[in-house]
Amino acid sequence: MATTTPTIAAPRSPHRSSRTSWEMYGWIFMRASGALLLVLIFTHLIVNLVMGGGVSQIDFGFVAGKLAKPVWQVWDLLLLWLAMIHGTNGLRVIINDYATRTGTRLVLKSALVLAFTVVVVLGTLVIFTFDPCPVGAPADLLPSFCTAG
């Protein structure tokens, strides 16, 4: 038991942070994107894994048939960007919590930014440049509308 009462400095003027509230925007983004992702991903899972032949139906013809439609292009683009930003921010928080050394944090976050950039750029390019009926591909692998008059 302490025998003396610790002296506590008198309160000063309120602490004013010079930082912008990025952490607060991140906190809000996780909740807003999470709500959207719930709808986007549950629909994605129902259409791809439950309806029709489920996971066994997935091949080029199935994916190309979906990605030929503007609705699914927008859907998948939103999924890609929101999920990657949501997940990358989540990983950033995890790195901050468990990587105590500055150097370790720098390496892990650099790898995270690299993974984010590669996956988002690649995925976006695929959605915008995808051709559901590539020339010279075997017709039996393509969605049916490629060969229909």
């Binding site: 899972l45 996971v55 997940g87 690649l122 995925g123 695929v126 075997p138």
Partner: protein, 126 residues
């Protein structure tokens, strides 16, 4: 062993374990997402390349992995709703523990609906 201070929200009970599970499932889903975008990008290479890689996924081990992945996504989504209710609903903090058991209940119902359908696709052949 020092005891946890009384009156805290999240120490060693449902609140903490839901936080751990949220973190673990989020971590797993992120790494799946990286692979998922990379393999789906093969549709831009050729139909043969995409079908060849997806073909290697069509076996019972990957099928069970997909079931586990869906379980992780469903838990993360439902617990995410619980987190939003804790943050934005006036009574959310008071009911956070009850809401975790609601999350577990809805999770069991959704997985009970999904697993028979998915496993019949995985094990039932084409």
């Amino acid at each position: 062993m020092p005891e946890a201070p009384a009156g805290t929200l999240y120490r060693g009970r449902e609140g903490m374990w839901s936080w751990v599970a949220h973190r673990v499932t989020g971590f797993l889903i992120f790494f799946f997402l990286l692979v998922h975008v990379l393999d789906t990008s093969l549709v831009r290479v050729s139909p043969e390349a995409y079908n060849a890689v997806i073909g290697t996924y069509k076996n019972p081990i990957m099928g069970l992995g997909e079931a586990g992945l869906v379980a992780a996504v469903v838990f993360h989504a439902l617990n995410g709703v619980r987190i939003m209710l804790v943050d934005f609903w006036a009574k959310g903090v008071r009911y956070q523990r009850v809401m975790l058991w609601v999350v577990v209940g809805v999770f069991v119902v959704l997985m009970a609906g999904f697993l028979p359908v998915h496993l019949s696709h995985v094990f039932g052949g084409e």
